[in-house]
Structures are given as C-alpha cells and as structure tokens.
C-alpha cells in the first residue's frame, strides 16, 4: 500500500485519540552494534514498528496509561519494559542479550568429524561417504579419505593417528559392533559389514572423545541408523558382484525393512585378471531385518538383525615348503543384533538404552591345520542426561561389555583349545558446561572393571572449545584411554592389564561460505602396551605390560563447495611420527601400519545436462616399513608408496533408476605391501620371502539401482557409491 494511503488511515484512526505518545530508541546487541529489523511493539496491541538500518525505532501510539513495550529479534532474548504513556516522548535504548541456543553454540571439534546435522557447519555428510570415489560403497573406505587415517591396502581396516586397527571401535545406535569387518584371507583387504545407506549420521572421532566411550585407544566411529522411512518402497540393486532386494513397509508410527543380498565374485574374477588363484571365489549371502517404531511423541525404538554367511578358498604359496601352493579356505558366519530405545522421561530427563549381540564364527583350513574361532560379544548400555539449565547438562551411564572368545587349533599331531570369557563393567559421568555461546567445556570421567584381568581403571576426560569469531574456533581435548589387550593374547594369559594411551589434541577450525579449513596437532603417549617376553606363546607368563610408544602429528583438512560451480572438493593431509616398543619388537621402532605422509584429494562434479555425478579420488601414502628377518635391522625395509586414482560415475537415467560405474587405480600404479617371509629359515639359513600384492591392481564395478514406490519418484541417489 502506498505511503499516502497508510498515513491517511493512520490519521483517520488517530482522530479518536486525544494524545499521542512517541516511544523512540536504539536497539543494539551487547557490544553496541545496531540491530536493524528488530520488532518493537506494545504487547497486546496493534501498535508496533521495526528498527531501521541504524537500529533506531520510532513508535507512535494513541494508547495511554500503563503499557508493556516488547522488543524481539531473532537469535536474541526478548526484552520487556513497563511504560507509563502520557502523551510525551519516551526514550528507550535497548541492549538485547544473545539467546543461548545449543544449536548455534560452539561445539567441541577437537578430533571429531561429525556428519548428518542439518546445520551447515558440517565437514562430511553421509552422502559424501556414499559418493566418494574409491570407497566403492564401504563405510571404512570412505573414512580413509579423511585426515588422521592411513591406508593399509593389505588390511582395509581403519588405522587412526599412528594407532593399530584394533584400537578403533565401531558403534551403531550407541551399541558396540564386535566384528565390524568381513573375514578375509591373510594380507587381503576387507570391507565393512554394513551398507552406508543404512545410516543418516556419522561421528568419526579420532581422539579425545567423550567419557561415554571406552575400550578404544585410537578412535570411535558412531553410526546412527535412519529414522522413519517416508513411504513403502522396494529397492533393487544389480551389481557386477552381486544383487540385493530391500522392501520397506510402513504402518502407523512404525516401519519394517527386509533386505536380502547375494554376492558372488566368480563372474567378475574370472573376467578380470587376479593376482591370486582362487579355488573358490568369494561368495556370501546376507539377510537383514530392521524395525523402527515410535514409542511416544518423543520416543523411538530401533531394532536391527542380520545373518551373514560367506566363504572362499584362496591359494597362497607356502614359503616354508619351497613356495608350494597351499589352499587357504575360510567359512564365516556372523549373526548380529542391535536394539536401541531413546525417549524423554518426564520434562527433563532423557534416556538412551542400547544393546547389541554378535556371534561370529570363522572356520579356517590351511595346509594341514584347521582353526575354528568363535566370538560371542554382548554390549549393554544406558545413558541418562539431565539439563540443570540450557547451559549445564549432566550425562551419566553404565555399560557392560561381555566377550567370549574361543579358538580350537588342530595341527596334524597336536591340538590347542583355548578360550576366555571377560566382562568389563563400566560407569561414566560427564558435564557439559557453556559459559556462553562462545565457550564450552566438557569434563568427565570413566571407571572400568574387567573381571578376567581383575583390573580397575579410572579415565579422566577433559575438552573445551572457544569461538574466536562467528566462523572460527579453537578446541582442545585431553584424556586417558584404556583398552583390554587383543584377544589373541588374552587366550593365553590373564596376567595382563589394559593398555593405556593419553591423548593431547589441539585443533583449529574455520568455516565460511561453504569453505572449511581445519588443522589439528596431537600427541599420543602409549603406556602399558603388551610385550612378548620371548617365552612359549601358550604360557601366561610370556606376556607383560612393559611396552610403550608415542604418536605425534599434524592433520590438515580443506573443503570447498563454492569456488567451482557444481563442483565440490576436499583435500586431507596427515603427517604422523610414531614409534613403539611392543609385542615382539626387540626395540623401539616404527610400526608397519604407519605412513609418515598421507594425502587424499576428493573431487565431485554434478553435470546437470548429463544428469550425472562424477567423482575422483587420489590417494597417496608414503612408504611404510616392514621387517625382513634376514636383515639385522628390525622393521628396516621400506615398501612402495601407495598411490591410487579412483573414478566413479553415477547417471540418473530416470528418477527411480540410477546407473553406476566405478574403477579404482585407473592409472594402474603398482601397489605392494612389503614382503612376507617363511616362519623357519631354509637350509642356507635364509628366510625366503614373497611380495604382498593386492588381490588385483584395479577393481571395476557397474551397477543399476532401481527404487519402486507408489508415486514412482523416489530414488537411491544417496545409494550411489
């Protein structure tokens, strides 16, 4: 409406009024910066105005007597003042206090990559994990493009900040996954058991994590599964390595998804040259059921159960028998169950309860040896949190990890049956305290008791973050971390105590305009690592906790979604300096899994006209060491540097049909992971060796994903790997 009309109306309505009061003033934030666009009005009336560019408002009213002036602006706490209107001019200058909102407040980023939050400040999202070339649909593969990780091509597992792969733990919806990786042959890369599309959020913490997490020396990966699906659907996936059918059915406040998949590498491996002879190509069948049910307005119950059976036979040279090929045969069975429930208890308390159960069996035949291994793991956990105020939140909880591990080894003329059962009971508490939106500290502690080792540990944890500007912040984290020694030692001894590492992490992060930069310095002080005394492996006294070590390094991360139109890239670099004296090391040495320099460059581009998302990923790890028993220097040999350029292409053929193709190591770099040697010297007193090669130098995959819904417009775009 035109100004004249408004003024006419105003005049008309002012005719009844005998007096007019003018309320004027300036609205600023605490430091005195003006707030344009703030709302100033008399409560319960229709008299109000907005501040101009300079934060000044000018409110004319015909009301008289006692009135309440209310000032409101987004992101600030409302201001209220009683006024007595008498027809004169009233000056009211207002300083608004910034509203405290945990979503906008500083978060602790030291050691943590968080994804899945709807806010912009995230560094990596689940879809990133899916569309990263080279990961080929593997959660752990995608994480290896983040700083702090080192690629070990002969393992495929996560190696974080100079830590061994056993030092990392994986949690789904709060409970532990005892066996997160598929079983593989010695020196062959494995993959994660879980498909990335199950997850809506990921937190990857590479150090200094909360007191809520124990039994992990180096990192925790926290995966949270999808909430309620939007509609009934049927997903079909056809890949050159297997196929999958998943059906989802909704009901009121609940849903069930059933998945069946079958993978067989026989057609692929018989077409593409392999570095090894497979007597039986890897084959596996998996069935899974996932149920989600809202239990109240705020409550959610999730259940997931999977059954997985896999097998293969691989021929490897037996270096103790003049290189004669010997079949390595493996059969794996894995049952996994996971349930979680979270809700509010009353007004303030909230509770998360989670449980998981794993039963994993491996039956291995090698030469004339048979090995049967079984892991039965149970994890129970409850976490309660209570906000004393928005700025002070207390969290506490308890956990039970139970593990039964048994191993039966049958040699031609001897037999070893060993097993152990351990229960680790733990309790933790932690307070998160905000001094303001700019400064937060988290202080907590954790106690653990292990009945098999009869050990009791206390771990303090402390972290803090300070926002320097809207966009930049520093974080620091410190803590003690304990983890029970690996199963292979606990089979023979209960005289050990948990291994320990102290983390010191200092990190800087700045995000603006879809660009993020992060730099992190850390130091890890390893103590009480298990050492072998040289006695017979089956004697309990052949092990002690006299080992130690350190890891220190710098991680850099740069992500830019802005500079290239329709393009998005990130660069990760990690420098690690680490040495240890543990296990069978004769002296302090660099462990074989650590690379000094690690680089990953990931690029993605959306070609709108072609309806395609293209991805490229280059990875480099500097040469790692390995040990040659023929050399007097321990871990004195260097393997080749790891290099790989991976490409992927996803094409949206129709809204519900995606065609996908990927190739790893497209430039065919030669990758080798050192040498393996015979256990016993030959007649010349030498240990013969052979190069450890990847299963194949390159991997190709082509697939088609189809989603059928009633409306026919959903797709598996987030399923593209």
């Amino acid at each position: 409406m035109k100004r004249t009309e408004i003024s006419i109306i105003t005049i008309l309505f002012c005719l009844n009024a005998f007096t007019q009061t003018v309320i004027t003033g300036r609205i600023t934030e605490e430091k005195g910066e003006p707030l344009p666009g703030a709302n100033a009005y008399l409560q319960g009336t229709y008299d109000g105005t907005s501040t101009g560019e300079n934060g000044i408002f000018n409110l004319k009213t015909a009301k008289s007597g006692s009135q309440v002036l209310k000032v409101e602006f987004m992101g600030y706490e409302p201001f209220i003042q009683n006024l007595d209107l008498k027809g004169d001019t009233i000056h009211v200058n207002v300083k608004l206090k910034e509203a405290f909102n945990q979503l906008n407040a500083v978060t602790i980023t030291a050691g943590t990559f968080e994804a899945g939050d709807k806010k912009q400040a995230v560094t990596i999202t689940p879809i990133d994990m899916l569309t990263t070339a080279g990961a080929v649909g593997d959660v752990f593969g995608a994480l290896q493009s983040l700083p702090g990780t080192t690629i070990n091509g002969e393992s495929g597992r996560l190696f974080v900040k100079g830590g061994d792969s056993e030092e990392s733990q994986t949690y789904i919806d709060g409970s532990l996954v005892s066996v997160p990786y598929n079983s593989s042959a010695p020196n062959q890369a494995t993959r994660g058991r879980f498909s990335p599309w199950m997850f809506k959020g990921t937190i990857f913490s590479t150090g200094g994590y909360s007191a809520e997490y124990g039994q992990a020396l180096s990192s925790v990966l926290l995966l949270s599964t999808n909430d309620m699906p939007a509609e009934d659907q049927l997903d079909l996936s056809f890949l050159t390595v297997g196929l999958e059918v998943a059906g989802t059915k909704l009901w009121k406040n609940g849903a069930v998804t059933g998945t069946l998949s079958y993978n067989n590498l026989a057609p692929y491996m018989s077409l593409v040259p392999q570095n090894y002879d497979w007597g039986k190509y890897p084959e596996s069948a998996t069935g899974a059921v996932s149920i989600r049910q809202k239990t109240s307005k705020t409550g959610m119950f999730k259940f997931y159960s999977s059954f997985d059976n896999g097998s293969f036979m691989l021929s490897q040279e037996n270096l103790d028998a003049a290189g004669k090929p010997v079949d390595y045969k493996l059969k794996n069975g894995n049952q996994f169950m996971n349930a979680s429930w979270n809700d509010k208890l009353g007004e303030k308390w909230s509770v998360i309860t989670a449980a998981s159960f794993t039963n994993n069996t491996d039956d291995i035949q090698f030469d004339q040896t048979t090995v049967a291994k079984q892991i039965q793991g149970t994890h129970l956990k409850s976490v309660f949190s209570y906000p004393f105020s928005e700025k002070f939140i207390l969290k506490m909880g308890g956990e039970l990890f139970s593990k039964k591990f048994s191993q039966n080894v049958q040699f031609p003329n001897e037999k070893h049956d060993n097993s152990f059962t351990n229960h680790t009971f733990s309790g933790f508490t932690e307070a998160q305290i905000y001094a303001s939106t700019k400064f937060v500290t988290r202080i907590g502690g954790r106690v653990e008791y292990s009945d098999y080792l009869n050990s009791f540990t206390v771990s303090p944890r402390l972290s803090a973050a300070y926002k320097i500007t809207d966009k930049s912040q520093f974080s620091a984290a410190y803590g003690w971390f304990y983890q029970n020694p690996v199963d292979d030692y606990l089979l023979y001894t209960d005289l050990l105590k948990p291994e320990r590492v102290d983390h010191y992490t200092f990190s800087f992060q700045s995000s603006a305009n879809s660009r993020t930069i992060r730099a992190e310095l850390y130091y890890k002080d390893y103590k009480d690592l298990v050492k072998l005394t040289g006695g017979e492996f089956y004697l309990p006294t052949s092990y002690n906790n006299s080992g130690s070590g350190y890891a220190k390094g710098l991680d850099l991360f740069w992500r830019d979604k802005k500079s290239i139109k329709n393009g998005d890239y990130w660069v990760s670099y990690s420098y690690v300096d680490t040495k240890r004296d543990y296990r069978n090391f004769p002296e302090e040495a660099i462990p074989t899994f650590a690379s000094r320099h690690n680089l990953s460059v990931v690029y993605k581009h959306w070609f709108g006209k072609l309806r395609s998302l293209a991805g490229a990923n280059f990875r480099y790890s500097s040469p790692r060491v390995f040990n040659d028993p023929n050399s007097p220097i321990f871990n004195g040999e260097k393997m080749l540097a790891y290099r790989s350029l991976d490409l992927s292409w996803s094409f949206l053929y129709r809204q519900h049909i995606i065609i996908y193709g990927a190739v790893t190591n497209v430039l065919d770099f030669k990758n080798e992971f050192g040498q393996r040697y015979s256990n016993n010297p030959n007649t010349n007193g030498q240990y013969p060796g052979a190069a450890i090669q990847p299963g194949s130098n390159q991997f190709y995959v082509i697939g088609c994903f189809i989603t059928l819904t009633r409306k026919g417009n959903a797709n598996q775009l987030d399923k593209i790997e």
Binding site: N39, Y41, G44, I127, L717
Partner: protein, 212 residues
Amino acid sequence: MKKIILSLAVVLVSLVSMAQKPEYYQAIGETFGQYATCKSVADFQALGNKFQMIAAAEKSEWLPLYYHAQCYILMSFIEQDATKKDGYLDVAEKSVTSLLEMVPSESEVSVLNAFYLVGRLVVNPMERGQEYSGLSGQALGKALALDATNPRAQLLQLQMEMGSAQFTGQDPKSFCPKAKELLANWDNFKPKSPIHPNWGKDQAEGVVKGCQ
C-alpha cells in the same frame, strides 16, 4: 497480483466495521495489503514483525502466525547469503510447528509446511534433496487429503513434479495441460474469508506462460 491485493485491502478496510474483531481485521488486512510492496529481506522482516505483533495480541487466531511464517520462508528465498537462510527458516519453523498443533486439519497449514520444507531443501539441494523432497511431498499429500481442491497444494505439487522431470531429463511440458487446468479452475476455490490464504495465482500464470 498487486492490483488484486490492493483492491482486497481496500475492501477489507471497508469491511472493518462489520467484522467481529474490528481491530484485528483492520490490522491484519492492512498488513496483508503491504505484501505487494515487499521486495527485500528487510521489507519482509518488517512485515513479519507486524504479523508477530498481531499473533501475540490474538493468541487464538492462526492467520497471523501463518503469514509470519510465510514472510520468513520468503526471506530465505530472497536472501543471497546462504549462511543466513537457515536462521530465517528456524523462525518460520517455530510458527509452522505451533500452527500444526493449533489447526492440524487446516489444508493451508500443510501447504505452508511443505513450502517451509522446500525452503530447507533449497539451502543445500545436494545434501538435503533426498530427505526434504520426501518430507515436503508428505506434507503436500496431507494438504491434498484434507482438501483436494486446494489450488496452492496442487500448484506446489505440480512445480515439484516439473522440477524433478527436468532433473531426470523428461519433458516438463508434459505437465502443461495440468497447469492450464489448474489455472482455469483457480477462481473456483473460494477462500473462507478475504484474509485467508489466497496466493499463488500469479505463480500458476507464470507456469502456464512458461509452457508457451
């Protein structure tokens, strides 16, 4: 659109004396009339402020909250600085949430909810596309279930279908007959009162124009 709103505002002012709550109708009608003159983020914020004030005075009425949310959703579309968009949508979200509790069976509120969800999607289509297109589709489904004749629900649905057709390389013009039909029948839908939501006809005209 401008003309319609202006004439509407004039009508409203004349209706004032007949209304049960003259001051409320006067205030909301007057504020409503200013939509046409809003161009910038600041304009919509000032307008949103007025609706916020009216909502605070008339706690049982849902229309002020509706328009308050709409202002902030529109702000998120106009805003150039991507980092500010979510802040506006946070404000809109609050009003939409209270509206859904206040009048859960009002078709227009579900349309607004869908519109808000599209706003969230637009901030970062790459990352939010999947989730928010599903959510806004659900909200539109609810709006149409409550009132299949609601032209705004039909319009949003049509725009979403055309958008995804374009994305997947189908010809968006295959939706043109549907668009023409929607526009032809637009005026058959009578809002419950002159201050009930009545927007969208010019967008529908735009869609039809794009077909030629």
